[in-house]
Symmetry: none
Subunit: 207 residues, 4 copies
DNA sequence: AATGAATGAGCGTTCATTCAT
DNA sequence: GATGAATGAACGCTCATTCAT
C-alpha cells in the first residue's frame, strides 16, 4: 500500500494516535505493533523508523497523555478568593478529564501493573510540571486563611482523596458494575457520583 | 523431569498459585504459560490437562481471589451497636486486605483494562456473594438510627468511597510515587493514609 | 466417566468402529486418538490397553474392512453358466459395495497416499483370500468357452476396468462434482453411472 | 541463517514447490510446515509472510496443479477430422499427464478425503477453464457425424471412463500391487495398461 | 481388568525486530 | 526518506504415548 501522505510529521502523528488507542485497549504487553501500523495506515517498518522500538513508542504515548493533562491543568483559570467554589471547579475538571480521556486512566493502570517500569525511563515525564498540586495548594491556603477549611490540611492528601474518588470509579467500572449490579457509566449515575465525590471532599475539609 | 508429586489436587493447586502470581505481575496478555508451569514445578502440558486453556486458568485465578475475599469478609465479626467503631474496623479490614493481597488489586486492574472480558465469562463469580455490602449496610442503618450518621446515606456510595480511597492509593502507587515524590509504600506513609482515609469516610457521614 | 460396559470385547469393538469412522474422515495422520476414544465412549488409555498404538489400531481397521469385503464376495452366489448375467451381477455387487462402504474407499485412498506403508505391515491382509478374482475368472472362462467374450481376456485387466469405473466415480466425487458441475451422488446420477459402467465393461469384452 | 536469495518471487516459488511435494507425500494433515520451509531453504516464518497460513498455502498448491493441467490441455493440438486417432492421442495425453504428475493424483485423492473442503474455498479453481471437456466433445461430435461412434454419446460419461481407467490404476497402485501381486509401475505393465484402457474406451464408443 | 496422572516432542502461528537497498 | 524482504525466538496449544497403581 502506498503511504497515505508523504508528510513525515503527519505519519508520525497518526502512528502515535493509533498507538495510544492500542495501548489503552490492550496494555503494553497486549498491544500489537502491526495493529498500530495498520490502524495508522502505515507499516510496521515506519514505527521503527520513527520511534525505534515498541517500548520507545509506548513511552512517547505516555509522555503525550501526561503532557496533555498538564496543559489542560495549566489552562484552568480559577478564582482562588472563593476557595470552595474553586475547589468544586477543580474537582469537576479532574472528573471530566478522566471521563473524557479514558486512555489516560487505562494507561496509568497498565503502567502501575508494570510497576512504573516505562514511566521511570522517561526523562520528559520527570521534567513535566503537574500544575494541579500548585493550584490545589493555593486553594487550600486561601481556605485555611479564611477559616472555612481545617487548618491542618496537607495538599498531597487532599489531592489523593480527590483523584482516588474519580479515578477508581472509572478505572474499575467493569468489575464494579458486575459487583454492584448497576451500569456505572450511565449519564445520571456519573452525574450522581460527581456530586457525591464533591460532597465527600468538601466534608473532609471542614474545620 | 519426574513429577514432583502424583497428587492431582496438589499439582493443580501449585499451578493455580503460580498463575496467580504470574498474572498479577504481567497481566493476562503478558502472562506466560511456560513461566507458570516452571514456577509450579510442572509442565505446560499439565496446565492444559487441568485447565484447558490459558484463559480458563486465568478465569479460575480470578474466581479464586474473589472467593477468598468473600470468605475473609464473611469471617469478619463486628459489633454493629457501635457504628463508628465498626466502620473503623471495616475500613481497616478493607485496607489491610488490599495491602496483604496485591494480587487482588492487580488482577482487578488488569480485568478492567480488558473491559471485564474474562470475569463476565465466569458463572462462579456471578454467583458469589460479597458480604461486605450487607455488613456495611447494617452499620449504616444503625448509625442512622442512633443519629450519629446523616440520615440519607446510600450504602453503595459509601462503599465506593471507602474502596476508592484504599484501592487507588495502592493500585497507583508507582505513578503516584513518581508524581508526588514520595515512596507511598513506606510503613509510616501507609499508616498515615489509613488514618486519613478513615477520617475522610467518617467526615462524609456526619450529619 | 465410568465405562459404558465392563465387557472387554464390546469396548474393543466400539473403539474399532469409532476408529474406522475417524480414519475414513481424516486419514491416518489426521485421525485423532482422543476423538476415537470419545466417540467410543471410552478413554485414550483403553486404546493403548487394547491395541498398543495408533498405528496398530489403524492396521486392525484396515484388516477389518478387507476381511468384510472378502466375506461379502464369498457370500456371492452366481450362476456362471450365463456369463453376461453373472458379470452384470458382479459389477452391481462391486458398485453397491463401494457405495455402501465409503470407509473402504476412503481408507484405500489414504493407504495409497502413504504408499501402502501400513498395509504391508499386516500379515493378516496378505493371507486374506480375495475371492473376486476367482469368481471373475470363472465367468470369463465360461464366456470365452461359449464364444460370447473375446478369447484373449486377462482376468486382472477386466478386474481393473470394473474396479476403476466404480471406485474412481466415488473416490473422486468431490473434485468431480466441482469440475463437472453436477452432484454425482444424487440417486439418478448413481444409477445412470452404474448402467454406463456395465455397458463399458461388457463392450470391452465383445469378440 | 542468511537468506538464499532476496528475490521475493523466487523465495515464494521455492516454498510453493516444496509444499507441493510435502502435501503430495503426506496429505494436508500430515504435511509439516517446518519440513516445507526446510526443503525450500527458507524458514517457517516466510511461509506465513507469503501465504498467511498452512491452509492458504495448501490451497495455492491446489490451484497450481489445476492451472498447470489446464495449460497443458490447452496446449494440445489435435486433428479432429480423424476422431479415433485424436481420441487415442487424448487418452495418451491424460495417461501420461497422470504418470508424469503424481502430485496431481495424490493431491486430488487427499482433497477428496477432506470432502473437497479446501478446493471449495478457492475462487481461482472455480474460475479455471478445464479445456479437456471441449476437446473431447469436438472429437465425439465429429466421430458421431462420421458414424464411427455411437450416436448417443455423452461427453461427461466418456470423460469419466477415460479418467477413471487411468487415474485408478495410478492412485491405487500400492494396494493394487499387493492385491494383484504385480508391480504395476514397471514400464511394460504401464504400457500394457495404456493399450488396454485405450481399447476399452474405443470399444465403448462403437456403434 | 482398568484407569487417573503425567509427559517429551512437536504443532501451526505470532512476536518485535533487523537487513539491505 | 522510505520500504519490501527476512528472521530468531517464542507463543499457546496438541500430539501420541507411558507411568504407576
Amino acid at each position: 500500500m502506498p503511504p497515505v501522505t508523504r508528510d513525515a510529521a503527519l505519519t508520525r502523528a497518526r502512528i502515535l494516535r493509533a498507538a495510544r488507542t492500542e495501548f489503552m485497549r490492550h496494555g503494553y504487553s497486549g498491544g500489537r505493533v502491526d495493529r498500530i501500523s495498520k490502524a495508522a495506515k502505515s507499516s510496521d517498518r515506519m514505527i521503527y523508523y520513527y520511534f525505534g522500538s515498541k517500548e520507545a513508542l509506548y513511552i512517547e504515548v505516555l509522555e503525550g497523555v501526561y503532557t496533555e493533562l498538564g496543559a489542560a491543568e495549566s489552562a484552568l483559570t480559577l478564582d482562588v478568593s472563593e476557595p470552595e467554589a474553586a475547589l468544586r471547579t477543580l474537582i469537576a475538571f479532574t472528573w471530566n478529564y478522566y471521563l473524557a480521556h479514558p486512555e489516560f486512566v487505562a494507561l496509568l493502570a497498565n503502567e502501575n501493573m508494570h510497576r512504573g517500569r516505562h514511566i521511570t525511563k522517561s526523562v520528559k515525564v520527570k521534567q513535566l510540571s503537574r500544575p494541579v498540586l500548585d493550584i490545589l495548594d493555593r486553594i487550600l491556603q486561601e481556605g485555611m486563611r479564611q477559616g472555612i477549611f481545617r487548618p491542618d490540611l496537607e495538599v498531597k492528601k487532599v489531592y489523593l482523596t480527590m483523584a482516588a474518588l474519580g479515578y477508581f470509579y472509572l478505572s474499575n467500572r467493569y468489575t464494579l458494575s458486575t459487583f454492584l449490579g448497576d451500569d456505572l457509566m450511565k449519564r445520571e449515575q456519573c452525574a450522581s457520583w460527581q456530586e457525591e465525590m464533591t460532597r465527600v471532599v468538601l466534608a473532609s475539609l471542614k474545620p
